[in-house]
Symmetry: C2
Subunit: 470 residues, 2 copies
């Protein structure tokens, strides 16, 4: 690569977006060098904030000509380092692409720019009685474009699917500067290779998305929330598969081990002054937070009844039925704050493994065994209805050397078990730089070479988001 310290090229690129949207000083660039992944930090040479696809096209042409690395960036909430400028160069912040361009009530579709905050979009469509289900815990700050890049999920995915299940078309600027639409604004499409699905989850390595067309659903009118305590992690995880087997399709099926709840209660009290009352008798080791939604109270009550019947065969504590909105909000706020809470009390490595849900009980036993073997604590929680478990491994008072070496050996053992159980490395956070060392274990050389080949078709000079995925 050509030297990326060439000041005159960066000034040319800056002129594409105007001085007020280009940043060369460290003090301005600092926050664009990290996200929410461990303590990674890299300093870009230049940060630009374009606001049209044509500006991005011109930036990419210039960077391609001079072989300057380009890292696209959304809300900066990533958990795998997908938006980090590991090779410095230019960070393209998408924050000015923040318009909802249309909400088409006739066709239940919306066209948005990728810098729209997920929750802002959800609220806008909800006002029209419509529903955009993907809702990562960071929904209040993450961008739809980042959700697309990592194929984000969230608690509703168990019933309604992940980001890729809602995107039907997108406008993309390729590294060559060419601007394409990947598909059409239709609900089904068998017209050539599925470029839309190839882009979704490609972590900004193939092109920069500048418009997204999502399909929407009618907003479900009713919901109920249950909190079920269990005497062991395995027992809770076994109950999940049993509930699905009974024919119920919950709109939320979240697992939280005891530690997750205790740390989050403490965090909410200390950081937000909010007390969430949940009884935690000594014998209770894990909880399932279960939501049902639909349009009919009676149907929901019948489904809740089915779940309660299933749970009679398990070793549970008293099941809490959240019967008013403020109690529901409180429980979901607790769940959404597990990640920040765990991170508030220790540096962590956040894993995002996924297995067939029937294999969760075996996995969770294995994780704790590995923790015991290597001497680390972990907090497990997540979208267990999908088989998607977040494992936050705590540094606490481990030495830096141990954290950076032995602990990674333990993580490798966990990933090996995940793959042996029919699962894979990431359910919704992506690979980024954090999981890259483990990719070969999950996919093997032939798959990785296919992916590298695809990368080369889109980005022959490898300027776009280098070092990510493989």
């Amino acid at each position: 690569m050509e030297s990326v310290t060439n000041q005159s090229i960066f000034e040319e690129i800056a002129s594409i977006v105007g001085k007020e949207n280009a940043f060369l000083l460290d003090v301005d660039k600092l926050k664009y060098g990290h996200d929410e992944t461990e303590d990674y930090s890299f300093m870009p040479d230049l940060v630009v904030k374009p606001h049209t696809p044509e500006q991005i096209s011109n930036i990419l042409k210039k960077c391609n000509e001079h072989l300057i690395p380009v890292t696209p960036r959304g809300g900066g909430t990533g958990l795998s380092g997908g938006a980090l400028p590991t090779k410095n160069g230019v960070v393209i912040s998408m924050e000015r692409f923040n318009n909802i361009l249309s909400i088409d009530e006739l066709n239940l579709q919306a066209t948005v720019e990728p810098g729209v905050i997920t929750e802002v979009f959800q609220n806008a469509v909800k006002e029209k009685g419509l529903f955009y289900p993907p809702d990562p815990s960071s929904k209040g700050t993450c961008f739809l474009g980042g959700n697309l890049a990592e194929n984000a999920g969230g608690p509703k995915a168990v019933k309604y699917g992940v980001t890729r299940d809602y995107v039907i078309n997108m406008e993309v600027v390729l590294p060559s500067g060419e601007i394409i639409w990947t598909g059409a604004n239709v609900l089904k499409n068998s017209t050539g290779y599925n470029l839309t699905q190839l882009m979704c989850g490609s972590e900004g390595t193939l092109g920069i998305v500048t418009k997204i067309v999502f399909k929407l659903r009618p907003f479900p009118k009713k919901d109920v929330t249950l909190l079920a305590p269990f005497t062991s992690n395995e027992e809770a995880c076994r109950a999940i598969a049993a509930i699905f087997k009974a024919g119920v399709s919950p709109s939320g099926m979240e697992f939280m081990e005891r530690d997750a709840i205790e740390k989050t209660q403490k965090y909410l009290l200390e950081h937000m002054g909010q007390k969430v009352n949940i009884e935690l008798p000594d014998n209770i080791k894990a909880h399932l937070l279960i939501e049902l939604d639909g349009n009919d109270d009676e149907v929901l009550m019948n489904e809740a009844e089915v779940i309660l019947n299933v749970l009679e065969d398990f070793d549970t504590g008293e099941i809490l039925f959240a019967d008013n909105q403020s109690r529901k909000d409180e429980l979901w706020k607790l769940r959404r704050n597990v990640s920040p809470a765990v991170n508030a009390y220790s540096l962590t490595k956040a894993e995002d493994v996924v297995v067939p849900r029937g294999n969760l009980p075996a996995l969770i036993v294995f994780i704790k065994e590995v923790g015991a073997k290597y001497g680390f604590n972990s907090v497990c929680y997540g979208h267990a209805g999908d088989g998607n478990l977040h494992i936050n491994i705590m540094k606490e008072n481990l030495s830096d050397a141990y954290w950076n070496n032995e602990v990674n050996e333990g993580i490798r053992e966990i990933f090996e078990e995940v793959v042996a159980l029919g699962g894979t490395l990431s359910g919704e956070h992506g690979i980024g730089i954090a999981k890259r060392p483990y990719m070969q274990m999950a996919l093997g050389d032939v798959n990785l070479n296919l992916m590298r080949g695809i990368k080369k078709v889109f980005d022959p000079n490898g300027i776009l988001n280098p070092d990510k995925i493989f």
Copy 2:
């Protein structure tokens, strides 16, 4: 390409599967040279019926070495010519890959070989209370592998999605002979590029699928079917968007114009001796066949009520409520037989366009205008709830020359309008060879070059299913 008449190479390939599974005589190969697309027919040099991935691997290695074209073939029900050996060479018939390998009731997943007939699979999972929704009209003879290759849909897609929404992993033999799994057996996956979704709908041009893992759903316990007659095609199509806008999600929303019903009634009577009574007063020009499903009779009745209320604003005839299984079966049999019926009375060109469903009324008016301009009749029907319209253009007594030239100009005009309406060429039949001439109009050079680049990554010598898509 090397001469493909080299008898000794074909004999070597034949020896991989054994003589009883290799066919060199025209009389045996004839049926592998055509499918259900117009009157296309091509003669392969060799037809083989392997039954293990390793056999396919060895065949592909040999063909790659000698640059012999290979065409994988499923049930032979394709409507775009995706399985036709246009360059002769070897046809690999997947008919011996016909085992359902496992139905995992704990994880609601099944692993199948691609030569399993779709309806056989549906029935097998239904016996366990599970549901595999994609059901193309040809479900009684088509293969799951073919459904995967073309990303097939069917009437349930409007509520439950198409084939791609159910496939989570597959085993694929690459043209190099290497055997990979594309993903993992999980419900969500953000682990590298989505090779599973790239393979799905790639029409057998990237690899040969030898195992498929599908996710399943609980089987809905109840359904109701309505048949609503309208005084015009546009009125019926307008009603579709209105029904969805009212917040109902039907599990079937099929459009049939009057001609489709009349021809199918005649066909069923003449070919199957079955009389389907549907009143067709002179003022009735189109019907919607609407299905609702779920687990609760009362909810279904409420939803049917919502639909009836919506339809009060439209110009309808008397709405038929199918209140017993045999009447429902009869109506769906009618719908499933529109395609064979239309084809029984004339050579046709079958288009499979898809638009945002709110644009269907404009499209259908346009199609009839083009027909009037070019002097051809068309029968329109299909999965209109998805915006997916099948247009069967009838040759009847048009001359061969006119059929092969002027009529294609008319089709081009229809496709241009489809793209202008935000739609695309194929919703569920694929591009194959039949729609290939129109791809540039729908996608443009940049997209097509990306697809060609991807093809080259998987199949550098271009041996696999040549001439398809682009």
